[in-house]
């Protein structure tokens, strides 16, 4: 009996050690796999950046930023597109923020939980996945034609606002939902109304998340071309918008047009435009990070 027992424990320890080395091997294998995955995406990013920078840096200059597009690559600049993008954002940002956060607050704080709100919720999530061209068609029919806003900054900005609205609603809802229930309950216990609680407790706690979501959504809007081409934003624009009814162009459209030209010089001009667009996006994302950190510390 004793002998038998000994052999069994022996076998068991052997099995155990074999198991450990096997698991460690697996661990190493998967670690390697994940490092490779990360490395690969980093590599792609680096290749992209290096290519864009080596191609475009030669065209970057103050002149490039302050001249209008031209048929001659050496004279072509991104001025009207750059300013056009800023104008469009000035329309998109406030509209999308007010509508998006408003919807999120209603859905999270006020709306009764019933089939109707479920339906709204489902639609919003679905809308987030609708291709941007469809929003362009919507913008063309409603803003450009029905409301006869023409091919204006206003029509473009509103279309973009609609496009990013679902993203903002979902992100804001997420942020509002993550506010601890105890905070709200404490506020209600003090006799505060729903609005007082929302304004003084929920929003301050949720604002970093909401703003981050907003800025990231705006970054998406900055890079979109399809909906604006649908509503007929222009490609060659040699003037700046004066008001929100002006015609305009934006950077992605201008860049797209340059890349589709046969002359390789224009491809370099496009690369310079991409650098400007990347810098703009980086600045916006940094602002998002900065806001998040700043407000989180104050809580």
């Amino acid at each position: 009996m004793k002998v038998v027992g000994d052999t069994t424990t022996n076998v068991q320890t052997n099995k155990k050690t074999a198991n450990i080395s096997g698991r460690q091997l697996k661990n190493k294998l998967f670690k390697g796999l994940f490092v490779a995955a990360t490395g690969l995406s980093l590599l792609v990013l680096i290749v992209l950046l290096v290519r864009i920078f080596t191609q475009g840096i030669g065209h970057l200059s103050w002149d490039y930023l302050t001249s209008f597009p031209s048929r001659r690559p050496e004279d072509a600049g991104i001025y009207s597109a750059f300013i056009g993008t800023i104008w469009m954002m000035a329309v998109t940002a406030p509209v999308a923020f007010v509508l998006g956060v408003g919807t999120a607050i209603y859905l999270e704080e006020y709306a009764p939980k019933n089939k109707f709100t479920d339906l709204i919720q489902m639609n919003i999530s679905n809308l987030a996945g609708v291709p941007s061209v469809v929003f362009g068609l919507l913008g063309l029919t409603i803003f450009v034609r029905e409301l006869s806003l023409g091919r204006s900054v206003l029509a473009g900005g509103l279309t973009m606002a609609l496009l990013i609205l679902p993203i903002i609603v979902v992100a804001s809802q997420e942020a509002i939902r993550s506010v601890p229930a105890e905070l709200k309950e404490a506020s209600f216990a003090m006799g505060a109304t729903k609005w007082q609680t929302t304004y003084r407790i929920v929003l301050p706690a949720a604002i970093p998340g909401i703003l981050t979501g907003n800025i990231l959504a705006l970054s998406r809007a900055i890079g979109e071309t399809a909906p604006l081409i649908m509503i007929g934003a222009l490609t060659y624009v040699a003037f700046l918008p004066e008001n929100i009814m002006s015609q305009f162009t934006v950077m992605p459209i201008q860049i797209f047009n340059w890349t589709s030209r046969p002359q390789t010089e224009f491809h370099d001009v496009a690369a310079a435009g991409i650098i400007i667009l990347l810098v703009m996006l980086l600045v916006m994302n940094s602002i998002a990070v900065w806001i998040r950190n700043k407000f989180q510390k104050q809580l």
């Binding site: 048929r71 000035a90 406030p94 007929g232 490609t235 040699a238 003037f239 008001n243 015609q247 046969p262």
Partner: protein
């Protein structure tokens, strides 16, 4: 406290937009007193004197949209025109030939660029909407059939052979075209179905048959260039400018339409011997827009320099008589 700041920021942003909107409104109103809002209005009565500030200085807006093929020429024309008349705004959009006509039919544009003649149904819709127009050829584009530098067997192609290659269900390998050619599958690259280039190709080569299902379509001609470059068995067609810019890596295929193989060059495209693939590209002008002095002036200017600009951006100018014919058409449409 921090929340207050955020609200203030938002309020400020909202205020700025509203202010811009109001400011804009006033501006357009005051502008409307001096210059007509030509964009969509056909009603140009009495706007003639208002539109010009005397001294031959015109102002106003011209709505131009349409084909991406014609775009470089119109961009060049607008760029030059801005030097002449800095107060006239002539931005150019790119919605494609078909997309441009859609806007033209809706009455939203003054000039509609197209890399193909207007289609019957488009012309009918324009008539229904009471929009009269004139067609002005601006330049020639020689559709170029190309293969890779590495392709050493294709010396020329006849129109029938092109049909065999491109019509769906005909040839599969190069040896199906000519026996001495390699038994390798043909890789086809074609401009996208929305482009006027595709439409023209369908009409002239495919004769409205379906294009081969193996063909890869792309709206970006540079994609086609890259596709052909890499493979000795590939073939593509696109505008002459894309060939001209990539001569080191592409081989042009001369086309034989019964009178011997002809290569597209400035000369053969201009004098019409490169046939049937040299196609005119157009702009269509709304007749009622010509009543506005700045549109009329722009169109005259365009007709004058279109040939020169076409050459500069990679197209071929038309014979001089064609531009003279255009000038007569414009004058007639303007009621002179």
């Amino acid at each position: 406290m921090s929340l207050k700041k955020v609200w203030m920021l938002i309020a400020l942003a909202a205020f700025m937009v509203v202010a811009a909107a109001c400011g804009g409104g006033e501006e357009t109103e005051s502008e409307a007193e001096e210059t007509p809002e030509e964009n969509e209005t056909d009603n140009t009565e009495g706007s003639d004197e208002e539109a010009s500030d005397g001294e031959g200085n015109l102002s106003g807006e011209i709505a131009i949209d349409g084909s991406s093929t014609v775009f470089p020429i119109m961009e060049a024309v607008s760029e030059e025109y801005t030097q002449e008349q800095p107060d006239v705004r002539a931005p150019v959009g790119v919605s494609g030939s078909g997309g441009g006509f859609e806007k033209f039919i809706a009455g939203e544009t003054d000039l509609s660029n197209a890399s193909r003649p207007i289609k019957e149904e488009e012309a009918e819709m324009l008539e229904e909407n009471g929009i009269d127009y004139i067609e002005l050829p601006l330049a020639y584009d020689g559709l170029s059939v190309v293969v890779s530098e590495e392709n050493d067997f294709v010396d020329y192609l006849t129109v029938e052979e092109l049909q065999q290659i491109w019509v769906d269900g005909e040839a599969e390998t190069w040896s199906d075209i000519r026996d001495e050619w390699p038994d390798e599958p043909i890789e086809r690259f074609s401009p996208g179905a929305d482009s006027g280039t595709f439409d023209y190709w369908s009409e002239v080569i495919l004769e409205d048959a379906d294009i081969s299902k193996d063909a890869q379509l792309s709206e970006d001609d540079n994609v086609l260039v890259n596709g052909v470059m890499g493979s000795p068995n590939a073939i593509a067609y696109f505008g002459y400018a894309y060939y001209a810019e990539n001569q080191d890596t592409l081989k042009i295929v001369p086309i034989d339409n019964g009178d011997g193989a002809v290569e597209p060059t400035e000369e053969t495209i201009n004098n019409g011997t490169y046939e049937p693939l040299s196609r005119p590209i157009f702009t269509y002008v709304k007749e009622s827009s010509l009543e506005e002095p700045h549109v009329r002036d722009y169109v005259d200017f365009m007709n004058e320099i279109a040939g020169e600009m076409a050459l500069e951006v990679g197209y071929i100018n038309l014979p001089e008589e064609q531009y003279e014919e255009n000038a007569e058409k414009i004058a007639e449409a303007a009621g002179e």
